[in-house]
């Protein structure tokens, strides 16, 4: 590689064994929740509120209908607490009287015949009294007289570094903007669903499509009022999740289990239709950011001032954590002495928003990166140059006060990305093209960003994850952990890490099915933590296992799979303990203050520069992405093919976020375009080439220096595309998706009108 100081670029063919789940998925034999056998079972369905918050006055079952062969569940059938267990118990499992949004579950029905069930849904009517003035907008919620909760705020954070006033004094060029990102639907192709059954001994088994089995288990314990040991949660093959199956599966599991409890031993399958899934399950938080950036004439940042607000919807669910990640990522990978980021998660009457790949960071990074281009423009500077001037380097101080260590590759990703795309040459070509009066305009835009992997701050400490390895007598090793394969390749990556650490071929190691009655809690499968945190625990457990086999079963110093199997046989014969467990210990220097956002927020950041090249048709105002380049430093690519697939897939979602995916709301705050015909995600015909360049600095906190991969691809595409379009058309863009209708409005409004609303700006 030609650039000194940049980490090595890898041959991606190396180290990429076949996916362990590949064959079953390709032959169609993998069983997803709707494929699970359910002999003699019932199907479940949900009756929901229609109004955007209010009081449920009456539930009327059509007397003309024979309800005797239905299982019917309402709030009074809940044996435990009527709340979904999460950060705070505010979201109800079934509405009893008051409710906060349209689409809340009131009555659960189950019947053996899906068609009859569908008809019965229409025969239950709810008498609802609407609360006056439901709120669906962030700033309206902040200013509203009517408060759903105090201040309509789920969380209110302040990251404050340096002295903003001082930064303002030193700034010679200042820009100000208001930028918005919309809700985005995860759109996993497998809709959500659960299968619950009461077993002969009264224990309950819930199987389904989910990310976090222990979240579901905890929710069942609370709602059913049953002991943990009598509940079992099993993950079925999961057809995509992206965060969307982090919290809501707990709700569906409670519903399915409540129905099963009354179904006299018959299993109950509760599978959402696509429309229901789109209307009620959580999506990415919409955001509104007021941002001001100041720099001196040379382009050195003097201050960053952001008022970042996200719409949390009608219940708190995960919003404070999403907000916290958004706030930490807001100032980007830049060095700036004076930073103020105020973050607020706001209560509205939308169904609650939730986790989606990136978890708050794509929203705030979007604002920062688009604002950086505005600043570059005002400075008369090239956007890449402005970034180069301000990107963090080792020993700089990060926005959270942490001194950046050697694991900082912001500049390396920028250099490689500029070189790969022939950025400066393209820029000149596109300028010439645009000046020549063609029917299209072209632009090249970039985004530089970093993303922290793992839970924020002390989160991993609180999780106290555990992973076990179990050796079987014939020499196979089973990994026991609660982390789930949902398509991202965790099963393969974890097996690969274990096999490598044990010096065994991959087919000697397998990942046990995620079943809470067997696997320890190794934390949820979120926040790009699986490979890094859990992979590291697997490696530690493997070392411990080898030590035990050496000490207790004479495993020779150098061994092959046969020697290993023989040692396992001896260990079993001697009735030695065949199970080893590794516990999480935080890396040194992991100090974090959640109140002041001070300290080391993440064990590792991954670094990236993404570049989008676009062409906009001047007549139709349709935007096409000509080329997309993602340069990403990921520590170490454990499985380069999986890593590349993760990045390409994430970029595709990011391009959807930037250009196509518009959630439209009806008057009751529910997604109106609740079909795949009108919620548009990218097809193969829509996407141009996506080039992925992996850089490996080898300094991440995971195995061999690996760090999180999967979330960065969501952070970069939207700002890169918007910056490219702004450049192509010489206009300001203030929101995504950049649909032709919006461009028409903006082009008509040229010169750009500032859309800065007046809101409370006190800090």
């Amino acid at each position: 590689m030609s650039l000194t100081g940049a980490p090595a670029q890898r041959d991606q063919r190396a180290d990429s064994p076949a996916r362990v789940d590949g064959f079953a998925k390709i032959t169609g034999s993998a069983l997803y929740v709707d494929d699970l056998p359910c002999a003699g079972g019932l199907f479940g369905a949900t009756v929901r509120t229609a109004m955007a918050g209010g009081i449920l006055q009456e539930v009327i079952f059509d007397p003309a209908m024979d309800w005797s062969d239905f299982v019917i569940v309402t709030a009074k059938d809940i044996p435990g607490v009527n709340a979904v267990k999460l950060l705070e118990n505010d979201q109800i499992v079934l509405v009893e009287r008051t409710f906060r949004h349209a689409g809340e579950a009131v009555v659960l029905l189950a019947h053996a015949d899906r068609e009859v069930l569908g008809m019965a849904l229409k025969r239950v009517s709810l008498v609802e009294q609407l609360n006056p003035d439901p709120i669906f907008d962030i700033d309206e919620a902040l200013q509203a007289e009517r408060e759903m909760i105090p201040g309509n705020l789920y969380a209110d954070y302040l990251l404050n570094r340096g002295d903003l006033a001082e930064g303002e004094r030193r700034a010679e060029v200042v820009i100000e903007a208001c930028l918005r990102t919309p809700a985005q639907e995860q759109l996993y192709i497998e809709p959500q669903g659960m299968l619950a059954r009461v077993q002969a001994n009264g224990d309950i088994l819930v199987e389904g499509s989910l990310q976090c089995p222990y979240y579901v288990l905890d929710a069942l314990v609370q709602c059913l009022g049953m002991d943990k040991n009598r509940l079992r949660v099993v993950q079925s093959t999961t057809g995509g999740a992206f965060g969307g199956k982090e919290d809501y599966p707990s709700m569906i599991a409670c519903h399915a289990a409540l129905l099963a409890l009354k179904a006299g031993g018959r299993p109950v399958k509760l599978i959402y239709t696509r429309g229901e899934d789109l209307r009620v399950t959580p999506k990415r938080h919409p955001s509104r950011t007021l941002i001001r950036l100041g720099a001196n004439k040379a382009g050195t940042l003097q201050f960053i001032d952001m008022d970042f607000a996200i719409d949390g919807g009608a219940y708190r669910t995960l919003s404070p954590v999403v907000l916290s990640r958004g706030v930490i990522h807001a100032p980007g990978p830049y060095k700036c002495p004076n930073i103020r980021v105020r973050g607020r998660a706001v209560a509205t009457n939308h169904p609650p928003f939730g986790a989606f790949r990136g978890f708050g960071a794509p929203q705030s990074i979007f604002a920062m990166e688009v604002a950086m281009d505005r600043l570059a423009k005002k400075l008369g500077m090239d956007p890449a140059e402005l970034r180069r001037k301000n990107l963090l380097r080792s020993s700089d101080v990060h926005a959270t006060g942490e001194v950046v260590g050697a694991d900082c590759f912001a500049h390396a990703t920028l250099d490689v990305a500029l070189e790969r795309t022939h950025y400066h040459q393209r820029l000149a070509e596109y300028k010439a093209w645009n000046a020549a009066g063609h029917p299209t305009r072209k632009g090249i835009g970039l985004a530089t960003f970093a993303h922290g992997a793992g839970f924020t701050g002390n989160g991993e400490l609180h999780l106290a994850s555990r992973v076990s390895l179990q050796v079987l007598a014939h020499g196979h090793v089973e990994i026991l952990c609660s982390n789930t394969e949902m398509g991202q390749g965790a099963a393969t990556t974890l097996v690969q890490i274990a096999a490598e650490a044990l010096g065994l071929p991959m087919d000697s190691v397998y990942l046990a099915q995620t079943d809470t009655s067997r696997v320890p809690n190794s934390g949820p499968t979120v926040a790009s933590r699986t490979c890094m945190v859990v992979g590291d625990l697997i490696q530690k457990a493997a070392e411990r296992l080898l030590r035990r086999l050496r000490e207790a079963a004479d495993l020779p110093a150098s061994y092959d799979a046969q020697d290993f199997a023989a040692a396992c046989g001896r260990l079993h014969a001697a009735k030695g303990d065949a199970l080893v467990t590794a516990h999480y210990h935080p890396p040194a220097g992991m100090l974090w203050d959640e109140q002041t956002f001070w300290g080391r927020a993440y064990a590792s950041y991954a670094w990236a520069t993404y570049i989008a090249e676009v062409e906009v048709d001047v007549l139709t105002l349709e935007t096409r992405v000509l080329d997309f380049t993602a340069v990403q430093e990921i520590g170490k690519a454990v499985h380069p093919v999986i890593v590349r697939g993760q990045i390409e897939g994430g970029v595709a979602q990011g391009l959807g976020f930037a250009l196509y995916e518009a959630v439209l709301w009806n008057a009751r705050g529910v997604m109106a375009n609740d079909r795949l015909t009108n919620y548009i995600i990218p097809t193969s015909a829509d996407l141009g080439d996506i080039h992925v360049v992996l850089l490996e600095g080898g300094l991440g906190a995971g195995p061999k220096g690996a760090k999180g991969v999967g979330e960065l691809p969501m952070d970069g595409p939207a700002p890169a595309v918007v910056n490219a379009i702004q450049q192509a058309l010489d206009i300001d863009i203030c929101q995504i998706p950049v649909l032709p209708e919006y461009l028409l409005e903006r082009c008509a409004a040229k010169p750009p009108a500032q859309e800065i609303p007046t809101v409370r700006r006190e800090y």
Partner: protein, 152 residues
């Protein structure tokens, strides 16, 4: 009136109503669970099967139209084909829910173009949504199965 068709080479007679969706007949009457439902309205291609060699979305097809039809589902594809091997090797499946439909779309595409260009692959798959892969690894797998170089 029962409907008689050949599914994966075997004669099958269904007594479901002629208005029943082929998707439900395959999944519930034939227990062929490889055909998935992603949207139920012809948009995602997760339910795609071959009917007389043509790619169709089985959620849109009423059973009544299937009299004497020759139907291939993912279970009817050879397990060890060049295509299957390339899908595994190239990482063309992630969560896998779109994969059966993709395998059938790819089969139909390769039947029509033994050596498809990238543009032909893109268009050939454009009725099948994948939310995981961004399609790149699927293109690579199809190109490799067709004997071309796979950019993996």
């Amino acid at each position: 009136m029962p409907t008689t068709m050949r599914i994966n080479g075997k004669v099958f007679q269904s007594h479901s109503a002629p208005t029943a969706r082929l998707l439900d007949v395959l999944r519930n009457d034939c227990h062929l669970k490889g055909t998935k439902e992603g949207c139920g309205e012809g948009e995602c291609g997760a339910c795609a099967v071959l009917v007389n060699g043509k790619l169709v979305n089985s959620c849109l097809v009423p059973l009544g139209q299937m009299e004497r039809a020759e139907i291939t589902t993912v279970e009817g594809l050879p397990e060890d084909s060049a295509l299957a091997r390339a899908f595994v090797r190239c990482g063309a499946t992630q969560c896998g829910i779109c994969t059966p439909g993709m395998m059938l779309a790819a089969t139909a595409l390769l039947a029509e173009h033994a050596h498809p260009t990238l543009e032909e692959i893109r268009w050939g798959l454009s009725g099948n949504l994948c939310r995981c892969t961004g399609y790149g690894r699927i293109y690579a797998a199809i190109a490799q199965a067709a004997g071309g170089p796979a950019d993996v």
